[in-house]
Amino acid sequence: MKTLSDRIALMGASGLDVVAALGRSGVFLFHALLGRSNFGSGWNLFVKQLYAVGVLSLAIIIVSGLFIGMVLALQGYNILSTYGSEQAVGQMVALTLLRELGPVVTALLFAGRAGSALTAEIGLMKATEQLSGLEMIGVDPLKYVIAPRLWAGFVSMPLLAMIFCVVGIWGGAMVAVDWLGVYAGSYWSNMQNSVEFGSDIINGLIKAVAFAFVVTWIAVFQGYDCEPTSEGISRATTRTVVYASLAVLGLDFILTALMF
């Protein structure tokens, strides 16, 4: 039977744990990104990670972008045609994708597809003591293992978000113009009239960069900080997906409130 003071002490301890984890992740990020980086071999590592994190995520991003654009056009058409303004379907699809769905869905998929893989890989490296081995032979694992993965995530996710938007808008055009018979000229010209480069596309890109930062940071840190057992790795992978998704959704609300 726990007394009340025990419970309070437990709460305080878990609170301190959270703050300590936050501090560890901050120091970890600082050390991985700043300080001397070894270009040359570092560049090759970066390219390899860009392939693993970015190129291999292309398929899921393109397929989901296509279907989300198509569904948006279909739903938008059904509602807008009640008001006789189905020409506006282009601007609806484009604005929804550029402002919200493009960055957010890309970040969620990225967390599931690439983030979990990063966590599991680094966690397993830690469990099999490869990270300590690197340290033993005088190679900093933060520089050799962590930094290329972080940078690959930062670079590839905004690119994936842009590809997602383009594919989605194209999918929307396919449904609205080719299937439902919205006039192609009004689909594109309404879109061009309402979408502004600075406030819509650049803000969407800023969102994607922010999400890339958060998702990759969480994924890599969870891997690096996990308990070096098979159970610990599985828990860290779960935590990556859950924390990253929640962080993306919360951050999206804040960024939207600030931007639009």
Partner: protein
């Protein structure tokens, strides 16, 4: 050889990503590569703009020749001052041309239509279009219609 194909795919991926941004910029937002290529500004005062927004089209004979750049309230005249940037190629607008606020379709977007005048002198940068016609406000129109039917019955 393995690293070579790896580098090629990654390079292709980055290219596609940047291309996507370019497509969004040019095709979706309609950004022109050289923005602000010689336009000149004219302005007009309207009694009621009723939903005209910046970036709205300025058309003549149905063809877009410019866009609305700024709308502000002129407190000395109690009218709306609408500033428009007209394409530099279209430099032969007579100075007594008329501007009116029109609607594309029944519920569509508002735009400015310019109808040609007969004066010999042309509009220059900073000039004002004097002859304006306000936006058609549907409520006013219905109100007037109701009033006329009521007075007919009397």
């Amino acid at each position: 050889m393995r690293t070579r194909t790896l580098e090629l795919t990654v390079g292709l991926f980055i290219l596609v990503g940047i291309l996507a941004l370019l497509v969004l910029a040019l095709r979706v937002s309609g950004l022109s590569i050289s923005p602000g290529n010689d336009t000149y500004k004219i302005h007009a005062h309207f009694d009621n703009i009723a939903g005209l927004t910046p970036r709205a089209k300025v058309t003549m004979a149905g063809v877009t020749i410019g866009q609305v750049t700024a709308i502000e309230f002129d407190k000395s005249r109690y009218t709306a001052r609408v500033e428009m940037a007209i394409d530099g190629n279209v430099n032969t607008l007579p100075s007594d041309s008329a501007a009116s606020i029109l609607t594309a379709g029944l519920l569509g977007e508002k735009y400015v239509g310019i109808s040609v005048g007969g004066e010999d002198s042309m509009l220059k940068d900073g000039d004002r279009i004097v002859d304006t016609q306000s936006a058609l406000v549907l409520e006013e129109l219905i109100g007037r219609f109701l009033l006329s039917t009521v007075s007919k019955e009397d």
